[in-house]
Symmetry: C2
C-alpha cells in the first residue's frame, strides 16, 4: 500500500478534501504522518493544524466530521486527495460548504458556494 | 478583486486544478506571484516549478494546456482552486488523466483514472 513521502515534504503533505457525491472541492489542509495513520485507522479525516501545531480531528468541535470514501495519492506521492462524506454539509469554519467560496472575477469577487450554518451557533 | 496572500506563504501558494466539466481533480502545483498574474492575463494556467525554479506554462511542452474557466480562493487566501478545460484530456506527465491515479486500499493500490496518452509519444 503506497503512502505519502513525508520526508520529501518536511513532514507535512497537502491534502485536498473533495465531496464524494458532488465532486465539490471542500478544502485543503495538511497531514503529518500521525494524521495519515489516524485517518486510515478511523475512517475519519485527520489533519495537522499548522496554526495550533497539533493533530486536528476535522469536525472535533463542530461535529462536522469528514467520513473517508476513498484516498488517492498523486504521481509524486507528495499530495493526498481524500473523497469524503461531509457531515453537517459544510467544511468551512465560516459556515460555507466549501472553503473555496470566493470566485475571482475582473468586476469583483462572487460567492460561489452556499452558506450552510451560522458559525456563532456552531462554535459556542 | 481578491488575490492570494503570497507573503504569508513564503511566495508560493498551492493551486488545485479541477476539470470544470467533470469535477475530476487533476493535479496540485504551486503558483508564485508571477504565475498568478500570467494565469489571469492569458487565461491559461501557469505554475511555478519548484524542481526547475522557473515559471511553468502548463502544457508548454506537451501542448496539454489548461484553459481557465473559473478561479477560486479559499477562506484563508492561502490556496487557489482553478477550474479548467484540460486540452489533450490528461494533466499528468505519466499520461494519466489525473495525477491522482492511485487509489489506496488495504489490499493494494488501484488505478482510478484513465491512461490517455503514452508519455514516450508526447515528450520526445
Amino acid at each position: 500500500m503506497s503512502r505519502p513521502d513525508f520526508a520529501k515534504c518536511k513532514g507535512l503533505v497537502p491534502c485536498i478534501a473533495q465531496e464524494a457525491d458532488t465532486g465539490e472541492v471542500l478544502m485543503l489542509a495538511y497531514m503529518n504522518e500521525e494524521a495519515w495513520e489516524k485517518t486510515l485507522a478511523t475512517g475519519e479525516v485527520h489533519y495537522y493544524s499548522r496554526s495550533r501545531n497539533a493533530l486536528w480531528r476535522k469536525g472535533g468541535t463542530s461535529g462536522h466530521v469528514q467520513k473517508v470514501k476513498s484516498i488517492r495519492l498523486d504521481c509524486d506521492k507528495d499530495t493526498v486527495l481524500v473523497l469524503v462524506e461531509q457531515l453537517g454539509g459544510a467544511a468551512c469554519h465560516t459556515g460555507y460548504k466549501s472553503c473555496f467560496f470566493t470566485e475571482i472575477a475582473p468586476d469583483g469577487d462572487r460567492v460561489c458556494s452556499p452558506l450552510i450554518f451560522d458559525p456563532k451557533e456552531v462554535y459556542k
